[in-house]
Symmetry: C5
Subunit: 278 residues, 5 copies
Amino acid sequence: MHDPRVPETLEGFCLLHQMFRVKWNYWTALDEHERHRVAGEASERLAGMQLGELGQTALVTLLGHKGDLMLVHSRRSFDALQEAQLAVARLGLARFLETSSSYVSIVELGMYEMTAQVHKRLQEKGLKPASEPYETEFDAEMAEQQKRVYGRLFQEVPARRYVCFYPMNKRRGEGRNWYAAPFEERARMMREHGAIGRHYAGRVNQIISGSIGYDDWEWGVDLYADDPLVFKKLVYELRFDESTAYYGEFGPFYTGLQFAADELPRYLEGHVPALTKA
Amino acid sequence: MHDPRVPETLEGFCLLHQMFRVKWNYWTALDEHERHRVAGEASERLAGMQLGELGQTALVTLLGHKGDLMLVHSRRSFDALQEAQLAVARLGLARFLETSSSYVSIVELGMYEMTAQVHKRLQEKGLKPASEPYETEFDAEMAEQQKRVYGRLFQEVPARRYVCFYPMNKRRGEGRNWYAAPFEERARMMREHGAIGRHYAGRVNQIISGSIGYDDWEWGVDLYADDPLVFKKLVYELRFDESTAYYGEFGPFYTGLQFAADELPRYLEGHVPALTKA
Amino acid sequence: MHDPRVPETLEGFCLLHQMFRVKWNYWTALDEHERHRVAGEASERLAGMQLGELGQTALVTLLGHKGDLMLVHSRRSFDALQEAQLAVARLGLARFLETSSSYVSIVELGMYEMTAQVHKRLQEKGLKPASEPYETEFDAEMAEQQKRVYGRLFQEVPARRYVCFYPMNKRRGEGRNWYAAPFEERARMMREHGAIGRHYAGRVNQIISGSIGYDDWEWGVDLYADDPLVFKKLVYELRFDESTAYYGEFGPFYTGLQFAADELPRYLEGHVPALTKA
Amino acid sequence: MHDPRVPETLEGFCLLHQMFRVKWNYWTALDEHERHRVAGEASERLAGMQLGELGQTALVTLLGHKGDLMLVHSRRSFDALQEAQLAVARLGLARFLETSSSYVSIVELGMYEMTAQVHKRLQEKGLKPASEPYETEFDAEMAEQQKRVYGRLFQEVPARRYVCFYPMNKRRGEGRNWYAAPFEERARMMREHGAIGRHYAGRVNQIISGSIGYDDWEWGVDLYADDPLVFKKLVYELRFDESTAYYGEFGPFYTGLQFAADELPRYLEGHVPALTKA
Amino acid sequence: MHDPRVPETLEGFCLLHQMFRVKWNYWTALDEHERHRVAGEASERLAGMQLGELGQTALVTLLGHKGDLMLVHSRRSFDALQEAQLAVARLGLARFLETSSSYVSIVELGMYEMTAQVHKRLQEKGLKPASEPYETEFDAEMAEQQKRVYGRLFQEVPARRYVCFYPMNKRRGEGRNWYAAPFEERARMMREHGAIGRHYAGRVNQIISGSIGYDDWEWGVDLYADDPLVFKKLVYELRFDESTAYYGEFGPFYTGLQFAADELPRYLEGHVPALTKA
């Protein structure tokens, strides 16, 4: 049933973020030949996870102690994510990685505007909410929308150097409660929220994923940019936005530099790896 | 005494959820013959925990860093759960498992509707609450109900691929306090909560267990489905429900893929295991 | 000085709860002869901690990952608790135990009713609060009470199979603040709280201990029963009680099975140990 | 500048609390001769840290899992604390110690009464707040006060058996906010708070230290007594005091037995160590 | 777009704080020659990170268990921070360091006053907010300001002995919400906040860095002084300031002694290292 309080969502790639610390002490104690072999295997296997329509695996080297390396896997199913998780766990390199965190989610487009429009249109047609024809037409509309935004649901990881990832919730406080606010008010706030984002168009790519039912926060946010200052400017400006000021709750922030799977051996030899293989 | 503020509950299987990380580094360092032997023993022992009326042990491979493997034991008593816990701890495989979390609870049906009806009926009969005949008749009604819902109290783990587990509380905030709300209001909210769930009938199985007095949250929720998207849609829609929007507090979410005990050796060799043995 | 805002308390045994995980991997790797020797020593030493009037040490095998083994030491002094702590730390078995948690407290009876009565009686006698005769008479009353409830202050651990332990606070919220509520209101709430407990008389034994000034919560609660369902029913019903619904804050819950020190070797060989040695 | 909203404080010894777990397994595995040597060195070095006017190092054996051993270093400067920290880290015994926690603070006397009096007196003299003469006279008054309370700022650790340490904050809640309350109100509450403490004079010594700017809570509290029951009685009674009921926020509590550095070898052989060497 | 609700910020050095525990047990077990070699290499490499305009790396020995050593790296880019992180991870000394925490941020000047002035001036000129000329002129003003405060954005670490670091947020409470307060009110509070700081001018240096979008708190604060008492006095006085009393939320505090890279070998031999090489 399409509940008019609930904004419709469209879903795309399944995502698994994995954060690892590199056990540098053990790694550097390994002899050079062996390091070469192990790094080469990992590099090759991760390069082999660039699967086009079936998804990909992005590599990010993080700043700070929360992790040295973040892998962002996008796949078509949870089974394929599990396969990626197992493949990484069984790399020769895994012996030199310590898992520090992770995040499970599905790329999501929230459709506040469309939800209201479709409910209105169907009711204007004289269809009765929750009736079979109503539900059927609604599902058809959704399928149509899904085609329209297919490219955003199953998009490639943007080829930009800097990455920011954080999970978030909408507050359900005793006074300020997002889920108890009327649909119209939430829709208005999301509209204003989106307007700020649009001022940054071109300078930042944002991928929202939903994790309700999968992980400890409600959404994950990935930002990609050519200049890390954009993250600070954007996230700060959003904080003054009503939907964030009153309702946004944030988990840990991870920030780092995206790099090519081919560059992994250079990274493991202590060099800052490049976004694209020279 | 049957306190009219307190909804009656009926109890079934005792449950122990165990979450483990696989120490892949140590495991893959083991020689093949030994891996075969250890995996075979574990697979056989876990397969032997399918005890029919006496309970069972479900296997789930989790996504993310909170665990690789979740075992869900259902048994007739805490003694039998302790026996299962000891049996797992003493598997040869246990050397390659690191316990990351657990949950202790008892399958529970909350009987808001029935509680109100029985109190009303007994009082219409002229019986005085807390009197001996009142209590005796109430107990008899409960015993009757228990027979009626026996199959739900002692049900098998649904044979569905995707699993979601999370613990939860009802808020006792300074402003919004579930336990201070009148029985009738709570009953109404639970009714609406249940109505949403019913729209998902057929697509998801839900097993609620009570853990007040046993573990750190008040309830555990297990969801089983053939499509993991159903978890997201259901848990999101419920979040707009009054009982959840104002009173729901959630612990960590675990999500993964159920698989057959027979498939454990394949899993341990790096393959995504199947729900049923080919 | 006896402050009329503060309920008097009477104190008995000093308590130390110790929670341990058993390092099963290391233990089972030990040869049988050595396991026999180490388990025998631990069993004998713990059996020797049943000191009658001087206190005792109860053994509990826990469900879940928070611990495998809980020891509950009751002693006449903190020095004697320290002695017990050192003795356990120096068992041969300690090498196979990992401390996961603990709790320090003193058995306490809160005397809301008596406090009010004695203050009233002394004032009716014309004594002036905080005067020397007032304080002296009050102390004499307390000493008398202490004799009367001596058996509850220095009681043996009940010989019942199931054990539940949890720490708790009374909320000092900005709106709901237990310590700012008038004495009479607190006394009334504690009376109602006690009334629920009395409906469970015979089915459960409760030992309250105070830990203000000693550990991170204000009180510890130990429940003992022959059926673990009683914990769930009791703690759930209490949650609707005003003193709990508005003011109760709960720490982690530990639940398990009490067993005899003589049964420790059987437990360490993987068997569910019995409450009393056959 | 002396801000009339801010109570003046006087400072004495710099304090470093260090909490350690003893790795008993490794320690008892050491041969007796070596244990004798290592314990002797540690005992001698710690005994050598009793520096009179320059400070001292107290030893406390803790109850429970938060630590086995607490060292309380008082010194004249942060450099001297760092020296003590380094000296402990480099003891032969350090190999058998695991740091579990610590606290950095400076002994502090809060001067609510005096602050108000001096501001009043200087203004009655016609001096203008924040003017140079005002500030100079204020500083002179403070220097005078410091001489007067010198003994309390640089006091020896009381030679009492039982020790209680905990950090605390004053709440800055949305409704109840200590730092937003008027000076006069805070002064009144601190007066009442102090009055309760005075009823315990003789039975307990209290050392308050400030940690704003140094550690995660605002103050540290050390209590010393001959009977640990006094801690419970005092801290419980204080909880009903307005400044605590509404504004007190408490960190972890550590409780234990003070003992002589000379007794360290006996402790390490499993005996409860004495407060003074026999 | 320059949103008039949002104070403009100017950015300077990228900062990475790294906190480490020294594994003294392993370190002191190393033979003297090897310690000499490893300490010498680390000292030389860290001394080589004093890069003038390109940034520097300050060394701090911390008090307490949160860390023994803190490195504060300032660099021109996140890539250069990553390079520093990798270089430290690959020191021979890294084997004897355990990362305990970190912080990622960018030196920031918040421009409440200027923001208001520029918006006012441009509007007085008749320019329309969000129009292209408006934005262009605003950007030009910002560039001008940046030149003016360049020295503060890219300043050297002050050559002062004592260091205090802590992260902080502005509260977004249900009642008190910084981001929902009007710009004018925030500007006024920040002005008052700044006035207190100015009373400490000369006695303390403060470096604010922004971490919104990079790390788990919104800002990092570094204080440098010749007397650690100044930290306590300043941070305590600020707590009574409206912007802090109502809106300040604080993370962990780190405090310690700055020292010269040349002094590292002396430190590693157990001596308190000096701020400047003798």
